[in-house]
Assembly symmetry: C2
Homo-oligomer: 199 residues x 2
Protein backbone atom coordinates (compact mmCIF):
# COMPACT_ATOMS: atom_id res chain seq x y z
CA UNK A 1 0.00 0.00 0.00
CA UNK A 2 0.97 3.61 -0.48
CA UNK A 3 0.52 5.19 2.94
CA UNK A 4 0.73 8.89 3.78
CA UNK A 5 1.79 9.56 7.37
CA UNK A 6 1.13 13.11 8.49
CA UNK A 7 3.00 13.90 11.67
CA UNK A 8 5.52 11.20 10.88
CA UNK A 9 8.29 13.01 12.73
CA UNK A 10 6.45 13.14 16.07
CA UNK A 11 6.76 10.80 19.05
CA UNK A 12 4.10 8.37 17.84
CA UNK A 13 4.42 9.08 14.12
CA UNK A 14 8.05 8.06 13.83
CA UNK A 15 7.47 4.67 15.44
CA UNK A 16 4.35 4.04 13.36
CA UNK A 17 6.32 4.98 10.25
CA UNK A 18 9.15 2.61 11.12
CA UNK A 19 6.68 -0.27 11.47
CA UNK A 20 4.69 0.46 8.31
CA UNK A 21 7.85 0.99 6.26
CA UNK A 22 8.64 -2.69 6.65
CA UNK A 23 5.94 -3.68 4.19
CA UNK A 24 4.45 -0.53 2.60
CA UNK A 25 5.42 2.45 0.51
CA UNK A 26 5.53 5.34 2.95
CA UNK A 27 5.17 9.06 2.31
CA UNK A 28 6.59 10.90 5.31
CA UNK A 29 4.85 14.24 5.91
CA UNK A 30 6.03 16.72 8.53
CA UNK A 31 5.61 20.39 9.22
CA UNK A 32 9.27 21.15 8.49
CA UNK A 33 10.88 17.86 7.46
CA UNK A 34 9.90 14.64 5.71
CA UNK A 35 9.26 13.87 2.03
CA UNK A 36 6.58 16.54 1.85
CA UNK A 37 5.73 19.43 4.17
CA UNK A 38 2.28 20.54 5.26
CA UNK A 39 0.87 23.22 7.49
CA UNK A 40 -1.95 21.29 9.12
CA UNK A 41 -3.71 24.54 10.08
CA UNK A 42 -4.14 25.49 6.44
CA UNK A 43 -6.65 23.93 4.07
CA UNK A 44 -4.69 25.34 1.12
CA UNK A 45 -1.53 23.62 2.35
CA UNK A 46 -3.44 20.34 2.75
CA UNK A 47 -4.83 20.63 -0.78
CA UNK A 48 -1.29 21.15 -2.04
CA UNK A 49 -0.11 18.07 -0.12
CA UNK A 50 -2.54 15.84 -1.99
CA UNK A 51 -1.80 17.49 -5.35
CA UNK A 52 1.86 16.63 -4.73
CA UNK A 53 1.39 13.09 -3.44
CA UNK A 54 -1.54 12.04 -5.63
CA UNK A 55 -3.58 8.89 -5.10
CA UNK A 56 -2.93 6.77 -2.04
CA UNK A 57 -4.27 3.74 -0.16
CA UNK A 58 -4.13 4.89 3.44
CA UNK A 59 -3.60 8.08 5.37
CA UNK A 60 -2.43 8.13 8.96
CA UNK A 61 -2.53 11.33 10.95
CA UNK A 62 -0.60 11.64 14.21
CA UNK A 63 -0.51 15.39 14.10
CA UNK A 64 -1.97 18.49 15.67
CA UNK A 65 -1.92 20.26 19.01
CA UNK A 66 -4.27 22.08 21.36
CA UNK A 67 -3.92 24.45 24.29
CA UNK A 68 -2.75 22.73 27.46
CA UNK A 69 -3.09 24.87 30.57
CA UNK A 70 -5.30 25.94 33.46
CA UNK A 71 -9.02 26.19 32.79
CA UNK A 72 -8.93 29.68 34.31
CA UNK A 73 -6.70 30.75 31.41
CA UNK A 74 -8.88 29.21 28.71
CA UNK A 75 -10.22 31.71 26.19
CA UNK A 76 -12.21 31.42 23.00
CA UNK A 77 -9.01 32.03 21.03
CA UNK A 78 -7.16 29.26 22.86
CA UNK A 79 -10.00 26.85 22.13
CA UNK A 80 -9.72 27.76 18.47
CA UNK A 81 -5.98 26.93 18.46
CA UNK A 82 -6.87 23.27 18.96
CA UNK A 83 -9.87 23.49 16.65
CA UNK A 84 -7.72 24.77 13.78
CA UNK A 85 -4.83 22.39 14.45
CA UNK A 86 -5.59 18.95 15.89
CA UNK A 87 -9.31 18.97 15.03
CA UNK A 88 -9.87 20.68 11.69
CA UNK A 89 -6.34 19.83 10.55
CA UNK A 90 -7.27 16.16 10.74
CA UNK A 91 -10.82 16.70 9.45
CA UNK A 92 -9.44 18.59 6.45
CA UNK A 93 -7.05 15.71 5.76
CA UNK A 94 -10.19 13.58 5.35
CA UNK A 95 -12.29 16.12 3.46
CA UNK A 96 -9.50 16.81 0.96
CA UNK A 97 -7.97 13.34 1.04
CA UNK A 98 -11.24 11.64 0.06
CA UNK A 99 -10.73 13.06 -3.46
CA UNK A 100 -7.46 11.13 -3.79
CA UNK A 101 -7.94 7.99 -1.71
CA UNK A 102 -8.27 4.70 -3.61
CA UNK A 103 -11.21 2.29 -3.16
CA UNK A 104 -10.87 0.16 -0.01
CA UNK A 105 -8.52 2.75 1.45
CA UNK A 106 -8.52 4.01 5.01
CA UNK A 107 -8.07 7.10 7.14
CA UNK A 108 -6.68 6.72 10.65
CA UNK A 109 -6.81 9.80 12.87
CA UNK A 110 -5.46 10.34 16.37
CA UNK A 111 -7.49 11.54 19.36
CA UNK A 112 -6.56 10.66 22.95
CA UNK A 113 -7.67 9.51 26.38
CA UNK A 114 -8.71 13.01 27.47
CA UNK A 115 -11.84 12.61 25.36
CA UNK A 116 -13.29 10.62 28.22
CA UNK A 117 -10.95 11.05 31.18
CA UNK A 118 -10.36 14.54 32.51
CA UNK A 119 -7.11 15.88 33.91
CA UNK A 120 -6.26 19.34 35.18
CA UNK A 121 -5.31 21.69 32.33
CA UNK A 122 -6.76 19.35 29.73
CA UNK A 123 -10.18 20.85 28.85
CA UNK A 124 -9.21 22.13 25.39
CA UNK A 125 -7.56 18.83 24.48
CA UNK A 126 -10.55 16.92 25.83
CA UNK A 127 -12.88 18.88 23.59
CA UNK A 128 -10.75 18.35 20.52
CA UNK A 129 -10.27 14.63 21.17
CA UNK A 130 -13.99 14.07 21.68
CA UNK A 131 -14.72 15.94 18.46
CA UNK A 132 -12.30 13.74 16.50
CA UNK A 133 -13.82 10.55 17.90
CA UNK A 134 -17.36 11.58 17.02
CA UNK A 135 -16.34 12.85 13.58
CA UNK A 136 -14.93 9.40 12.89
CA UNK A 137 -18.14 7.74 14.07
CA UNK A 138 -20.33 10.14 12.11
CA UNK A 139 -18.43 10.08 8.83
CA UNK A 140 -17.84 6.31 8.82
CA UNK A 141 -21.31 5.54 7.47
CA UNK A 142 -21.00 7.78 4.42
CA UNK A 143 -17.53 7.26 3.01
CA UNK A 144 -17.74 5.90 -0.54
CA UNK A 145 -15.90 3.09 -2.34
CA UNK A 146 -15.46 1.00 0.81
CA UNK A 147 -13.16 3.59 2.29
CA UNK A 148 -12.87 3.21 6.06
CA UNK A 149 -12.09 5.64 8.89
CA UNK A 150 -10.99 5.02 12.47
CA UNK A 151 -9.33 6.88 15.31
CA UNK A 152 -6.59 5.69 17.61
CA UNK A 153 -7.08 7.15 21.09
CA UNK A 154 -3.88 6.63 23.08
CA UNK A 155 -3.20 7.24 26.74
CA UNK A 156 0.16 8.64 27.80
CA UNK A 157 2.74 6.61 25.91
CA UNK A 158 5.88 5.34 27.59
CA UNK A 159 8.07 7.33 25.22
CA UNK A 160 6.68 10.62 26.52
CA UNK A 161 6.14 9.70 30.16
CA UNK A 162 8.99 11.93 31.35
CA UNK A 163 7.34 14.95 29.79
CA UNK A 164 3.63 14.23 30.17
CA UNK A 165 3.61 11.77 33.07
CA UNK A 166 3.40 14.41 35.83
CA UNK A 167 0.20 15.79 34.29
CA UNK A 168 -1.43 12.34 34.30
CA UNK A 169 -1.21 11.15 37.91
CA UNK A 170 -2.16 7.50 38.26
CA UNK A 171 -2.18 6.88 34.53
CA UNK A 172 -0.18 3.81 33.57
CA UNK A 173 1.95 4.69 30.54
CA UNK A 174 1.11 2.61 27.48
CA UNK A 175 3.84 0.61 25.70
CA UNK A 176 4.50 2.04 22.26
CA UNK A 177 4.03 -1.42 20.67
CA UNK A 178 0.39 -1.33 21.72
CA UNK A 179 -0.09 2.08 20.15
CA UNK A 180 1.59 1.01 16.92
CA UNK A 181 -0.56 -2.12 16.81
CA UNK A 182 -3.69 0.05 16.95
CA UNK A 183 -2.66 1.90 13.80
CA UNK A 184 -1.85 -1.38 12.07
CA UNK A 185 -5.26 -2.75 13.10
CA UNK A 186 -6.97 0.22 11.49
CA UNK A 187 -4.90 0.26 8.30
CA UNK A 188 -4.45 -3.43 7.56
CA UNK A 189 -7.63 -4.67 9.26
CA UNK A 190 -11.27 -4.30 8.28
CA UNK A 191 -12.86 -2.17 10.99
CA UNK A 192 -14.68 1.09 10.27
CA UNK A 193 -15.97 3.88 12.48
CA UNK A 194 -14.10 2.57 15.51
CA UNK A 195 -12.29 4.39 18.29
CA UNK A 196 -9.37 2.14 19.13
CA UNK A 197 -8.63 2.94 22.76
CA UNK A 198 -5.09 2.19 23.85
CA UNK A 199 -5.27 2.61 27.62
CA UNK B 1 -32.54 29.82 41.93
CA UNK B 2 -32.02 32.36 39.18
CA UNK B 3 -31.69 30.29 36.02
CA UNK B 4 -30.69 31.55 32.58
CA UNK B 5 -32.11 29.45 29.74
CA UNK B 6 -30.42 30.09 26.42
CA UNK B 7 -32.46 28.67 23.57
CA UNK B 8 -35.60 28.87 25.69
CA UNK B 9 -37.82 29.31 22.66
CA UNK B 10 -36.73 26.08 20.94
CA UNK B 11 -38.41 22.68 20.98
CA UNK B 12 -36.63 21.47 24.10
CA UNK B 13 -35.97 24.87 25.65
CA UNK B 14 -39.59 25.89 25.94
CA UNK B 15 -40.59 22.71 27.78
CA UNK B 16 -37.57 22.90 30.09
CA UNK B 17 -38.44 26.54 30.80
CA UNK B 18 -42.04 25.69 31.62
CA UNK B 19 -40.91 23.08 34.15
CA UNK B 20 -38.22 25.21 35.81
CA UNK B 21 -40.53 28.24 35.99
CA UNK B 22 -42.66 26.36 38.51
CA UNK B 23 -40.05 26.83 41.25
CA UNK B 24 -37.29 29.11 39.99
CA UNK B 25 -36.69 32.61 38.68
CA UNK B 26 -36.19 32.16 34.94
CA UNK B 27 -34.40 34.39 32.46
CA UNK B 28 -35.61 33.47 28.98
CA UNK B 29 -32.93 34.03 26.33
CA UNK B 30 -33.62 33.65 22.62
CA UNK B 31 -32.05 34.79 19.39
CA UNK B 32 -34.97 37.06 18.54
CA UNK B 33 -37.45 36.81 21.43
CA UNK B 34 -37.35 36.22 25.19
CA UNK B 35 -36.37 38.51 28.06
CA UNK B 36 -32.91 39.02 26.58
CA UNK B 37 -31.54 38.32 23.10
CA UNK B 38 -28.19 36.78 22.23
CA UNK B 39 -26.35 35.85 19.07
CA UNK B 40 -24.79 32.59 20.17
CA UNK B 41 -22.19 32.83 17.39
CA UNK B 42 -20.76 36.01 18.86
CA UNK B 43 -18.59 36.18 21.96
CA UNK B 44 -19.30 39.91 22.20
CA UNK B 45 -23.04 39.23 22.25
CA UNK B 46 -22.57 36.58 24.96
CA UNK B 47 -20.51 39.01 27.06
CA UNK B 48 -23.33 41.54 26.73
CA UNK B 49 -25.87 38.91 27.80
CA UNK B 50 -24.11 38.40 31.12
CA UNK B 51 -23.56 42.12 31.65
CA UNK B 52 -27.32 42.52 31.28
CA UNK B 53 -28.41 39.55 33.39
CA UNK B 54 -25.70 39.71 36.06
CA UNK B 55 -25.09 36.99 38.62
CA UNK B 56 -27.02 33.75 38.35
CA UNK B 57 -27.23 30.27 39.89
CA UNK B 58 -27.64 28.06 36.84
CA UNK B 59 -27.34 28.33 33.10
CA UNK B 60 -29.05 25.94 30.72
CA UNK B 61 -28.18 25.96 27.05
CA UNK B 62 -30.45 24.24 24.54
CA UNK B 63 -29.16 26.25 21.63
CA UNK B 64 -27.01 26.02 18.55
CA UNK B 65 -27.05 24.29 15.19
CA UNK B 66 -24.70 22.50 12.82
CA UNK B 67 -24.72 21.51 9.15
CA UNK B 68 -27.00 18.57 8.44
CA UNK B 69 -26.51 17.09 4.99
CA UNK B 70 -24.66 14.54 2.87
CA UNK B 71 -21.05 13.85 3.77
CA UNK B 72 -20.16 14.42 0.12
CA UNK B 73 -21.26 18.04 0.55
CA UNK B 74 -19.30 18.62 3.75
CA UNK B 75 -16.70 21.36 3.52
CA UNK B 76 -14.38 23.03 6.01
CA UNK B 77 -16.71 26.04 6.07
CA UNK B 78 -19.75 23.89 6.83
CA UNK B 79 -17.90 22.22 9.69
CA UNK B 80 -17.13 25.67 11.07
CA UNK B 81 -20.83 26.60 11.02
CA UNK B 82 -21.45 24.06 13.78
CA UNK B 83 -18.19 24.90 15.53
CA UNK B 84 -19.13 28.58 15.79
CA UNK B 85 -22.76 27.89 16.73
CA UNK B 86 -23.58 24.77 18.73
CA UNK B 87 -20.01 24.11 19.93
CA UNK B 88 -18.26 27.41 20.65
CA UNK B 89 -21.57 29.14 21.33
CA UNK B 90 -22.08 26.83 24.28
CA UNK B 91 -18.40 26.83 25.28
CA UNK B 92 -18.41 30.63 25.29
CA UNK B 93 -21.51 30.60 27.52
CA UNK B 94 -19.34 28.72 30.03
CA UNK B 95 -16.13 30.73 29.53
CA UNK B 96 -17.96 34.05 29.94
CA UNK B 97 -20.62 32.80 32.33
CA UNK B 98 -18.07 31.55 34.86
CA UNK B 99 -17.35 35.20 35.70
CA UNK B 100 -20.97 35.67 36.81
CA UNK B 101 -22.06 32.28 38.15
CA UNK B 102 -22.59 32.03 41.93
CA UNK B 103 -20.86 29.41 44.11
CA UNK B 104 -22.53 25.99 43.87
CA UNK B 105 -24.03 26.98 40.54
CA UNK B 106 -24.24 24.81 37.45
CA UNK B 107 -23.93 24.84 33.69
CA UNK B 108 -26.03 22.39 31.65
CA UNK B 109 -25.21 22.14 27.96
CA UNK B 110 -26.91 20.14 25.22
CA UNK B 111 -25.20 17.65 22.90
CA UNK B 112 -27.05 14.72 21.29
CA UNK B 113 -27.09 11.05 20.41
CA UNK B 114 -25.06 11.55 17.21
CA UNK B 115 -21.95 11.89 19.36
CA UNK B 116 -21.90 8.11 19.53
CA UNK B 117 -24.45 6.84 17.01
CA UNK B 118 -23.97 7.77 13.35
CA UNK B 119 -26.73 8.51 10.87
CA UNK B 120 -26.49 9.54 7.24
CA UNK B 121 -25.98 13.30 6.88
CA UNK B 122 -25.00 13.66 10.52
CA UNK B 123 -21.18 13.86 10.51
CA UNK B 124 -20.93 17.57 11.35
CA UNK B 125 -23.46 17.24 14.18
CA UNK B 126 -21.68 14.13 15.44
CA UNK B 127 -18.40 16.05 15.66
CA UNK B 128 -19.96 18.97 17.48
CA UNK B 129 -21.88 16.78 19.94
CA UNK B 130 -18.77 14.74 20.78
CA UNK B 131 -16.83 17.95 21.33
CA UNK B 132 -19.45 19.27 23.75
CA UNK B 133 -19.49 16.02 25.74
CA UNK B 134 -15.72 15.96 26.11
CA UNK B 135 -15.53 19.67 26.93
CA UNK B 136 -17.94 19.00 29.79
CA UNK B 137 -15.83 16.08 31.00
CA UNK B 138 -12.59 18.03 30.68
CA UNK B 139 -13.72 21.27 32.30
CA UNK B 140 -15.63 19.61 35.16
CA UNK B 141 -12.47 19.03 37.20
CA UNK B 142 -11.37 22.65 37.18
CA UNK B 143 -14.46 24.76 37.76
CA UNK B 144 -14.09 26.80 40.96
CA UNK B 145 -16.44 27.47 43.89
CA UNK B 146 -18.19 24.10 43.60
CA UNK B 147 -19.63 25.07 40.25
CA UNK B 148 -20.74 22.01 38.27
CA UNK B 149 -21.12 21.28 34.56
CA UNK B 150 -23.03 18.54 32.74
CA UNK B 151 -24.41 17.84 29.29
CA UNK B 152 -27.79 16.43 28.36
CA UNK B 153 -27.47 14.23 25.27
CA UNK B 154 -30.96 13.58 23.89
CA UNK B 155 -32.05 11.23 21.15
CA UNK B 156 -34.82 12.32 18.78
CA UNK B 157 -37.56 13.72 21.00
CA UNK B 158 -41.20 12.91 20.43
CA UNK B 159 -42.04 16.56 19.83
CA UNK B 160 -39.83 16.69 16.75
CA UNK B 161 -40.36 13.16 15.43
CA UNK B 162 -42.39 14.36 12.44
CA UNK B 163 -39.50 16.50 11.28
CA UNK B 164 -36.44 14.51 12.33
CA UNK B 165 -37.85 11.00 12.58
CA UNK B 166 -37.22 10.06 8.93
CA UNK B 167 -33.51 10.79 9.36
CA UNK B 168 -33.26 8.49 12.37
CA UNK B 169 -34.58 5.13 11.15
CA UNK B 170 -35.11 2.69 14.00
CA UNK B 171 -34.60 5.30 16.67
CA UNK B 172 -37.36 5.24 19.27
CA UNK B 173 -38.41 8.84 19.96
CA UNK B 174 -37.81 9.92 23.55
CA UNK B 175 -40.68 11.30 25.64
CA UNK B 176 -40.12 14.97 26.41
CA UNK B 177 -40.64 14.32 30.14
CA UNK B 178 -37.48 12.21 30.16
CA UNK B 179 -35.52 14.98 28.49
CA UNK B 180 -36.82 17.60 30.89
CA UNK B 181 -35.97 15.33 33.83
CA UNK B 182 -32.36 15.17 32.64
CA UNK B 183 -32.01 18.95 32.83
CA UNK B 184 -33.62 18.96 36.29
CA UNK B 185 -31.20 16.23 37.40
CA UNK B 186 -28.25 18.36 36.33
CA UNK B 187 -29.54 21.65 37.79
CA UNK B 188 -31.13 20.55 41.04
CA UNK B 189 -29.00 17.45 41.62
CA UNK B 190 -25.36 17.09 42.60
CA UNK B 191 -23.64 15.45 39.64
CA UNK B 192 -20.68 16.98 37.84
CA UNK B 193 -18.91 16.18 34.57
CA UNK B 194 -21.66 13.80 33.48
CA UNK B 195 -23.17 13.18 30.06
CA UNK B 196 -26.83 12.45 30.78
CA UNK B 197 -27.89 10.26 27.88
CA UNK B 198 -31.61 10.32 27.17
CA UNK B 199 -32.00 7.49 24.66
Amino acid sequence: MKIIIVGATGTIGKVVSAELKKRHEIVIVGSKSGDVQVDINSKASIEKLFETVGNFDALVSTTGSAFFGPFSELTEERMYEGIRSKLMGQVNLVLEGRKYIKPNGSFTLTSGILAEEPIKMGAALSMVNGAINSFVIGSSVELENQVRINAVSPGVVEDSRDFYGPYFPGHIPVPMEKVVAAYVKSIEGAINGQIIKVY
